[in-house]
């Protein structure tokens, strides 16, 4: 049996991987498409960053006082190009800023320095030229505002220093030091709650999405594997070989799992590159040691998660095979298997955004009844150490898997695998009568 199983698995993998639709659609495209999308996003972001370094402003200085000069020197020191256009009126200055492709126009009104010295609120007018060039333009505009705020901050510190020399301006401005910590599983953890929440979210989003991709790929593989045998008229020959039908079934499932894992891995690698484009430029502040605070999975939790995922995958494959038996060709099988993906997407959405225990009881029962909820749930439970619930889930999914596997093997072991379509046609004719 083992030899026969190996032959079937090797054949299945060869057939599936060499199928251009699968090779391109599920393996190569994710590896190329997502990094390309990531490259596009990263390039745009880098361009936006570069454009911040190229901020150039036209300046109408109607004040000519020491604070106006100080402001311009401050901006020049930060590599902002300033073009003084005091001899132009406002309309001419606006036209100039537009034609010279400047970021905008800064108008320092008359009395700016006098107001600041006299303790009166001083006005400063900033105009950004809107060209509709995308995120880079918005970033440049907000960068100018941020720089001016920094200048304002230094003015405040300077004023405090002058008026209350015995006080430290930084303490006056920011008198309270807040140390944010969290309490996790009865222990104080030296991590702010929002950082911890962010980490948990990355786990509870990443895991369900990854699992959903893997299971959907596996179901599609299995359905394709059976339906293509029917479509290519090879199934009858295969079924007359001196080989146990259950071996054929398991061989097909194993081949589907292998190709689905390859597909899901390439998808996740590609998706990882894509997401890296967004997160690559964001500095990681927390540096939280998950293991130190008891949030890292242990070998036991890895084992439970792997087991839960494996039995769920078997049930997904058995379901897909049972359904695809009724299809005439690959397209028909994929159409039949398509609705089954709802069983994956439905729990995934709940897992991503909420705690199951917070849901109404009937909805909770529905979600617990869906076998694919359990590996996603296990991925959360293993972080919190609730192994018992994870084990109960595995037992439930195993029973479900065995039941579906039995149905699949019954369909595979009898003439139903060849005649199921005939029955459906007959039913359809019967209805038309």
């Amino acid at each position: 049996m083992v030899k026969g199983l190996l032959f079937i698995v090797v054949k299945e993998v060869k057939e599936l991987v060499r199928d251009p639709k699968i090779l391109l659609g599920m393996i190569i495209v994710p590896l190329i498409m997502f990094p390309l999308m990531g490259f596009a996003v990263q390039t745009s972001m880098e361009t936006a960053e570069v454009s911040i370094g190229r901020i150039s402003m036209a300046v109408i200085d109607l004040d000519n006082g020491p604070f106006a000069e100080g402001l311009m020197n401050f901006l020049k020191a930060l590599n902002i190009t300033l073009v003084e256009v005091d001899d132009l009126n406002f309309t001419e200055a606006v036209n100039y800023a537009q034609q010279a492709d400047l970021t905008g126009l800064l108008v320092i009104p008359s009395g700016f320095s006098a107001n600041l010295t006299g303790g009166v609120k001083a006005d400063l007018d900033i105009y950004t030229v809107f060209r509709g060039k995308g995120i880079g333009e918005a970033t440049s505009s907000s960068a100018v505002t941020t720089l001016l705020k920094t200048f304002e901050g230094s003015l405040v510190s300077q004023t405090i220093g002058e008026k209350i020399p015995e006080e430290d301006p930084t303490i006056v401005l920011d008198p309270i030091h807040m140390a944010e910590r969290s309490i996790f599983q009865g222990k104080s953890v030296d991590v702010p709650a929002d950082a911890l929440f962010g980490l948990m979210m990355s786990q509870s989003v990443g895991m369900p999405v990854g699992m959903m991709m893997l299971l959907i790929f596996a179901m599609q593989m299995a359905a394709t594997s059976i339906a293509s045998e029917k479509e290519e008229k090879t199934l009858e020959t295969l079924l007359t070989l001196p080989l146990n039908r259950f071996t054929i079934l398991i061989g097909k499932m194993t081949g589907s799992i292998i190709v689905a894992v390859v597909g899901a891995v390439s998808y996740l690698i590609g998706f990882g590159y894509y997401m890296g484009a967004f997160t690559g430029s964001i500095p990681v502040e927390s540096g939280v040691d998950l293991a130190a605070i008891g949030l890292a999975p242990t070998p036991v939790s890895y084992f439970l998660l792997g087991t839960s995922l494996f039995v769920s995958m078997l049930s997904a494959l058995a379901l897909a095979i049972s359904v695809s038996v009724f299809a005439e060709d690959v397209r028909g099988a994929q159409a039949l298997v398509g609705p089954l993906s709802t069983l994956l997407i439905f729990p995934m959405i709940f897992m991503m955004f909420t705690d199951l225990n917070a849901l109404p009881f009937p909805l909770r029962i529905v979600l617990y009844a869906i076998p694919f909820t359990h590996p996603m749930l296990t991925s959360k439970l293993t972080f919190t150490g609730d192994y018992l619930t994870a084990i109960i889930g595995i037992v439930y999914v195993s029973i479900f898997t065995l039941t579906v596997l039995y149905i699949a093997s019954r369909l595979f072991g009898t003439e139903k695998i060849l005649t199921a379509k005939l029955t459906l046609q007959k039913l359809r004719i019967g209805k038309n009568k």
Binding site: E15, E236, T237, T240, P242, N244, T414, K426
Partner: protein, 243 residues
Amino acid sequence: MSFVVEAEGLVKDFGGVRALDGLSFQVKRGEVYGLIGPNGAGKTTALRIIATLLQPTAGSVKVLGRDVVDEAAEVRRRISYLPEEAGAYKNLSGYEYLEFMAKFIAEDEEGVRAAVDAAAEISGLGERLRDKLKTYSKGMKRRVLVARVLMTKPQLGVLDEPTGGLDVLHSMHVRGILQRYVAEHGVTVLLSSHNMLEVEYLCDRVALINRGTIVAEGSPRELMEDMQASNLEEVFARVVGCG
């Protein structure tokens, strides 16, 4: 006399449709036995039952003394089946396909190699066997499939329309290899065909089936003599009521 196939009172219903209605026949060792009949007569259903794909509603079939229902695994070890319009794994090369099939029958690597070599010779496709099957014409694919049936020298070859849809040259090749292989290796063949010329050329005995039951049986010569017909087509037309 020992029979390779013994079908007794075969009945097969698909819902309310009776495809076989008490079909009985025997195939002797080493002979080529043909099932002929109009479309829907039950030929393919009979062959599928013998190949263990379908189960009879009533009656029994024994292949080399083994019941096709109760001892299906044993029957599969002794037969090689070519379905009508059979396909092959399009993303495998001819050699890979033959090797894959041979592995289930041959006992060791040497046996696999011998079977694949035999299939390469039978198919006569030479270097084209290195190409993927999706690049083959229908005729080439059929030659590979017939070679697959014969390469392991099965005790019974079950061929449903072995030359169906093929052009004259490919049909002649397939008929040639069937006739030669049967003569050389003593393989018993049960086939169905719509081509009366082919049946006359290949078959030692023929059963004419109509509406799921045998209406005439004998060697092509006997049937022609009995019906005072000059060829099997005339016999066929008279027996099924069109002549």
